[in-house]
């Protein structure tokens, strides 16, 4: 009995600490629904991993867009980066007869069949960001990393006037976004006098990026620009350069341009530019309304991307494709 009291006491004190801080209840997480009592349609949203801020933003975009339509009710599920869990969640949505399914799949192969099953049962499916195999889905919405990488390369080429010494801090090179942001960029700077003097995998993580940039700074006395595959990477590189008092000599360019991350860094003048990788959340709800309203939609919707710089951020960025 005494032990149980001790344990309860310890847990209560832990919750007290948690109570000191206010959780943000407006962020949609697993199983929370953007609900309206008068809703006509229920949409199931299966997110592959809410561990990534970009995907949290995607859910938030969906929620914000859906909140403007009282006829919609969205149920969110988070598969926690597990393909089989996501498969089970899609099956749950099918069994509860949702009117439409939005899936941002973790991987193509394991999720193709549950998505096809829903589609075959007459549930419209919007596949968001990552593709599945075959054609048994209603619509794919996504941005093109290669195009964004190329846009970043073109911008860098112009900014450096065709020559300079560049550090490339890559995302995970075993992931498709990392590969595409790399090949797009390299394609754009081909036949220029831009030298990639240092490149390293930072695995999308800021602390890794800072460490790699410290190495680049130790090795090279002149660095003109850092191209990082995401904004946390560019920010980590900036912090390393600032610690070495060299941040004024270097331009930092990142990708993703999340409102609370990349766009803030650009506004603060830390990054010279950030290229948007749109979440497609708002577009998914617009498309969902069209489908539910009986309209025909395009089978493939490629999202446009914007570049944010200090000059254009107040005007909402500039389209690059």
């Amino acid at each position: 009995m005494k032990k149980i009291f001790i344990l309860t006491g310890l847990l209560m004190s832990l919750f007290w600490f948690a109570g000191c801080v206010s959780p943000k209840s407006d962020t949609p997480t697993e199983e929370t629904a953007s609900a309206h009592s008068t809703s006509r349609w229920t949409i199931g949203m299966s997110q592959c991993n809410l561990g990534e801020p970009w995907r949290v933003q995607m859910n938030l975009d969906i929620k914000n867009a859906a909140d403007k339509h009282p006829e919609l009710r969205v149920i969110f599920k988070d598969a926690q980066n597990d393909s089989l869990k996501q498969r089970a969640q899609i099956e749950e949505f099918i069994n509860t007869d949702v009117d439409l399914l939005i899936v941002s799949p973790k991987e193509a192969a394991p999720l193709t069949s549950p998505i096809a099953e829903a589609y075959d049962k007459g549930i419209p499916v919007i596949v968001l960001d990552r593709r599945v195999l075959g054609d048994r889905y209603t619509c794919f919405i996504g941005a093109n990393n290669k195009t964004i990488g190329r846009a970043a390369g073109d911008w860098i080429r112009r900014r450096l006037q065709n020559q300079g010494r560049v550090v490339e801090l890559k995302g995970l090179m075993t992931s498709t976004p990392g590969q595409d942001r790399h090949t797009g960029f390299r394609g754009a700077i081909e036949n220029s006098r831009i030298d990639i003097i240092f490149e390293a995998d930072m695995k999308w993580l800021e602390p890794n990026s800072r460490r790699e940039m410290e190495s680049a700074l130790a090795r090279f006395n002149t660095i003109d620009l850092v191209y990082a595959h995401n904004d946390p990477g560019a920010h980590g590189a900036y912090l390393a350069a600032r610690a070495a008092n060299r941040e004024q000599d270097i331009l930092f360019v990142g990708i993703d341009a999340l409102p609370h991350e990349g766009q803030v860094y650009v506004r603060q003048g830390l990054l010279a530019a950030s290229f948007e990788y749109p979440t497609g959340g708002r577009d998914a709800i617009t498309t969902a309304l069209d489908i539910l309203g009986g309209k025909d939609v395009e089978r493939e919707i490629t999202l446009r991307s914007r570049v944010f710089t200090k000059d254009n951020i107040d005007q909402g960025g500039e389209w690059v494709n």
Binding site: L10, L14, F17, V21, P23, S215, V264
Partner: protein, 337 residues
């Protein structure tokens, strides 16, 4: 710890000296340093800034390893260190950035939160006899969940979301700049000094306090320790509590260095912390080891990562080389002549 055998001849003494874990750990570090001198990336390895940056980078891992050392000497393990780091980084950022609380309030509360997490793990292990692996695994999951719940899954940065969907931009708190700074004419990072302070505290505990000897006794033979009147439950509780405390120290340093509280921060850091302790030569079975060894272990891992980084070694080769060199270093420490 060991009895001194009667002196025989100088060569036997030399052999004994060489067999001491401390010397072996130093030789492993020397081996890694030698690689650095050979592959010095056009002299980058010879610059002081490389070493200073390595020390900065390894500090957070080193602080986690301090707590881990205490726990491992009791023959336990703490898998929750990375998650508690993430949780306290988030709490510290909310207190400092969103609430504008003074560091005098925010830091003790965060340290307390970390210590409570550690105490809960310790309580489960010491009182309820749950295996350390299971209890701290549960805490690892719980603390990560709490970090995500508190932060709403988003990084806690200086851009604060208002109710209307607009962002309000706040100043970076002075404490973040202070902890991220370098002192002594830009020659050493503040977080590195904090790491050194943690090492010193652990050394005082293990070498100078009676309680430190209790930790060794419990790790060596828990039943014998209990029979000889050592307060096993309290000792274990404090060991895990201190581990949680050091996690909070590391979490605060992490938040200050990133200028934000990332709920995902610290993932897989527990593995690096364990690797640091083991490479140093502290026995995973408990009862043997020390904080000096952990310090050398931290240097070994830190230099290894730095050397691979300045040479821009690709990710695949980097993982394979790290694995191979860790095994090499541990095997070397096991060799008996």
């Amino acid at each position: 710890m060991n009895e001194n055998p009667p002196k025989k001849d100088p060569s036997a003494n030399l052999l004994k000296w060489f067999r001491s874990p401390f010397v072996r750990a130093l030789v492993a570090l020397g081996f890694v340093l030698m690689i650095g001198f050979i592959f010095n990336a056009e002299g980058s390895f010879l610059k002081w800034q490389t070493h200073r940056d390595m020390l900065r980078h390894i500090s957070v891992f080193g602080i986690l390893a301090c707590g881990m050392t205490l726990v491992i000497i009791t023959a336990g393990i703490d898998l929750s260190v990375g998650s508690i780091l993430g949780m306290t980084a988030v709490i510290f950022s909310i207190f400092s950035i969103h609430f504008d609380w003074s560091p005098w309030l925010a830091i003790p509360l965060c340290l307390g939160a970390g210590a409570v997490c550690g105490l809960v793990s310790g309580g489960l292990i010491a009182r309820f006899r749950i295996q350390p692996f299971i209890a701290t695994l549960a805490m690892m999951v719980f603390a990560r969940g709490m970090a995500k719940w508190i932060s709403g899954g988003q990084k806690i940065s200086t851009a604060v979301l208002q109710s209307g969907g607009q962002y309000r931009y706040k100043e970076v708190p002075a404490i973040f700049d202070g902890l991220n700074a370098k002192v002594l004419h830009n020659n050493i990072a503040v977080v590195t000094l904090i790491f050194f302070a943690c090492i010193l505290v652990c050394w005082l505990i293990l070498a100078k306090l009676r309680w430190g000897r209790h930790i060794y006794a419990i790790g060596g033979n828990e039943e014998a320790a209990r029979l000889s009147g050592i307060p096993v439950t309290a000792t274990k509780l404090i060991a895990y509590g201190l581990s949680g405390f050091f996690c909070a120290v590391a979490g605060i340093c992490q938040a200050a260095q990133e200028f934000q509280g990332d709920p995902e921060a610290g993932q897989t850091y527990e593995l690096t912390a364990i690797a640091i302790v083991v490479i140093g030569g502290t026995n995973l079975m408990g009862g043997r080891g020390g904080i000096g060894l952990t310090f050398i272990g931290a240097m070994t891992i830190g230099y290894l990562e730095k050397i691979l980084s300045i040479n821009a070694v690709g990710e695949a080769s980097r993982l394979m080389l790290t694995g191979a060199i860790i095994i090499g270093a541990v095997l070397f420490q096991k060799v008996r002549k």
